[in-house]
């Protein structure tokens, strides 16, 4: 006897689903207190994201706050959520380190009237109101496959250098990427390995090193993470593999400018991370003002980004990623 996995489908939390009616015409509240809780403080990418949130809250006359741990662990995030509950914030914007571990606390927050906007990395869907998705999973997976194929010249060995093996986003993209490879036009591409650099600069650097030693015929490294792509590019640019092995993936223009210029990297893609925070802040204030409740089909305005519609499961998609190359990189600064 006993309780096994099959007996219980989910733990989650109390799932305080909002039953309140949305009023799309409600006035936008001023002085909304929104706290951003990124995966980890002092991470350049997160900093850009929450920077966008700050811009938006300034526009909306809200109160911006940034808290977070120095280690990307779920348990530290829980402590911060608890603190935010105590401080009676209006909205929490969170990039969850573990979709489930933060759940009970988020639900406690929601039952005390705090709206929860997940961004960047989702929390379980029954413990947040909306999720700001940087791009559709398909969109990114397809983009990555397309770039990889182009750079490898349509055939040969390629490898992926990802973040951590359980990073929700990266895994979803890699899944799509693998599906893409089954298509006939990519038949000659061979994915030899998915390596994990744990979003740690040095570890990623060493993993890139290991990939090239293990797979001498490697044509391209695809790194769907900003830390990974920079580390891989840096290793290649200073090694004898420069010019022979291509690096692509998701990266920020500022990080990659040097490698685009020196020819190590031809092209890579990304959305504008600042827009994620910006959108999250607008969504948060809309939630706090009662304009939306997180139900599919509701619409709200997001300042300079225009109008957005909430999709299935409370997802709000930012838009397609931008591809950067030598011709356009100097137009961006983030």
């Amino acid at each position: 006897g006993g309780t096994t996995k099959n007996d219980s489908s989910s733990s989650g939390g109390g799932g305080a689903q909002s039953t309140a009616q949305a009023d799309p015409n409600a006035a936008t509240k001023e002085g909304v207190k929104m706290a951003f809780l990124p995966k980890q403080l002092n991470n350049p990418y997160s900093d850009i994201e929450v920077g966008g949130g700050k811009t938006a809250l300034d526009e909306l006359k809200g109160e911006y706050k940034l808290v977070g741990p120095n280690d990307a662990s779920a348990s530290s995030q829980v402590s911060y959520i608890n603190t935010l509950i105590q401080q009676q914030q209006d909205v929490i914007g969170i990039a969850a380190n573990d979709p489930n571990a933060v759940c009970p606390s988020l639900n406690q927050a929601r039952s005390s009237g705090i709206k929860v906007v997940a961004f960047d990395s989702d929390a379980a869907k029954d413990c947040r109101d909306v999720f700001i998705n940087q791009a559709t999973t398909e969109g990114i997976g397809e983009q990555l496959a397309k770039m990889a194929s182009e750079l490898a010249g349509g055939s040969g060995e390629i490898a992926i250098l990802s973040a951590t093996p359980n990073a929700t986003n990266q895994n979803a993209w890699i899944e799509v990427f693998k599906q893409q490879l089954t298509k006939p036009e990519y038949a000659n591409l061979k994915l030899v390995k998915v390596a994990y650099g744990n979003d740690d600069d040095q570890k990623s650097f060493q993993e890139a090193q290991g990939l090239l030693q293990s797979y001498p015929n490697l044509k391209a490294i695809v790194a769907p993470t900003t830390v990974g792509i920079a580390a891989a590019a840096r290793y290649i640019s200073s090694s004898s593999y420069k010019g022979k092995v291509a690096v692509t993936g998701l990266g920020t223009p500022n990080q990659m400018r040097e490698y685009i210029k020196d020819g190590t990297v031809t092209k890579f893609a990304l959305w504008n991370p600042a827009d994620i925070g910006y959108l999250a802040a607008y969504a948060g204030v809309a939630l706090a003002s009662g304009q939306i409740t997180g139900v599919e089909g509701q619409k709200f305005k997001a300042g300079k980004l225009g109008e957005y519609t909430i999709g299935k499961d409370g997802e709000i998609v930012l838009g397609p990623p931008t591809v950067f190359d030598a011709s356009n990189i100097d137009q961006y600064n983030f």
């Binding site: 002092n42 350049p44 290991g210």
Partner: protein, 346 residues
């Protein structure tokens, strides 16, 4: 009470039977590491010949250089029966200091960067040393505290800023990758550190005093050794070398944030312990510590090359530490046994 007098034999019965090669047994430790290294390299190379390519060897040596510099400092402190857990944080602080200086002054020569790194590290080391010496606080506790505190200071200062490779001057990055006479600069610096520390510890009074202090702190005090001064000096060396390692780190990886070197302390202590430096002071050499660093780095590389689940890496490092100290113990027991036998009158 009257004196009991007995005619004395010419010498006492204590005798030395034969010259005993203790040195041989002690060196067995370093030889063991070398053997393990050779076996590992040979095996990995048969699986993947590129493991012995020039590029690969260069990568391993570059990786070792930073760890070895830290391990030399750690060995110096451990020999005095102390420990420095703050090295990772000091490395981070130094790397960030140097990085932000270079970011602001693109023309700053490498040697100045090194000096700055050493200065930052030495300052941190002196803080540790003073607390251990004048606070009479165990080093484990002090450096555990400064591990938090220095890291906190680095975060405070960096405040989320990351220094990217493109913000660092080219000549500095080149220093991280280029070679002189075929030897990468970083490796050269590590070797110099190793040789100088090795000679001082073995052949100079100051070095011998460190061993004496670690072997018996009370006896050292009574022998007139300036224990306090030497303790501070040992921590200063460890700090300064962590500072050097910070500069090497910045040059090698090009990307620096406040988390640089996070968690390094464990690897460094592991390298020293695997290399035969006794946790309770008094014995061990920097050569051993350097070899320990090399072994750990090679293990990391070969796991990647052998395509072994990288998750095993940490487990293997752990198992290796246990193996190393276990082997050490065996050697020690043997030595003790043979000493006892030689002493006995049976």
């Amino acid at each position: 009470m009257n004196a009991t007098k007995v005619v004395a034999p010419t010498t006492t019965s204590r005798s030395v039977s034969r010259k005993f090669s203790l040195g041989g047994l002690f060196k067995a430790r370093e030889a063991g590491i070398v053997l393990a290294l050779i076996a590992l390299v040979a095996f990995t190379a048969t699986q993947n010949s590129r493991f012995l390519s020039a590029q690969s060897i260069r990568d391993i040596l570059l990786g070792t250089a930073i760890l070895a510099v830290l391990a030399v400092g750690q060995a110096t402190v451990m020999i005095t029966r102390n420990i420095d857990l703050s090295v990772g944080s000091v490395l981070g602080l130094s790397a960030f200091a140097v990085g932000s200086l270079l970011q602001a002054n693109q023309g700053m020569p490498v040697i100045v960067a090194l000096v700055v790194g050493v200065a930052v590290g030495a300052a941190c080391g002196v803080v540790n040393g003073f607390l251990v010496r004048f606070g009479q606080v165990p080093a484990l506790v002090v450096t555990l505290g400064t591990l938090y505190a220095f890291r906190g200071a680095a975060y405070f200062w960096a405040g989320g800023e990351q220094i990217n490779a493109d913000e660092l001057p080219g000549h500095f990055l080149k220093f991280g990758n280029s070679s002189i006479l075929g030897i990468p600069w970083l490796v050269l610096i590590a070797v110099i550190v190793l040789v100088v520390a090795g000679i001082v510890l073995r052949n100079y009074r100051a070095g011998r005093e460190l061993y004496a202090m670690g072997s018996s702190p009370q006896a050292a005090e009574l022998a007139g050794i300036k224990v306090g001064r030497n303790t501070i000096a040992a921590f200063l060396v460890s700090g300064a070398l962590a500072g050097v390692a910070g500069v090497l780190f910045a040059a090698r990886f090009g990307t620096i944030d406040a988390a640089a070197g996070n968690g390094y302390e464990l690897n460094v202590v592991a390298a020293a312990v695997v290399g035969g430096v006794a946790v309770f002071g008094g014995s061990g050499t920097v050569w051993g510590a350097g070899l320990g660093a090399l072994l750990l780095t090679v293990i990391g590389s070969s796991l990647a090359v052998l395509d072994i689940n990288q998750f095993w890496q940490q487990a293997i490092v752990g198992a290796l530490i246990l193996l190393a100290i276990g082997a050490d113990r065996l050697v020690a027991v043997r030595v003790a046994k043979s000493l006892k036998k030689r002493d006995s009158h049976v």
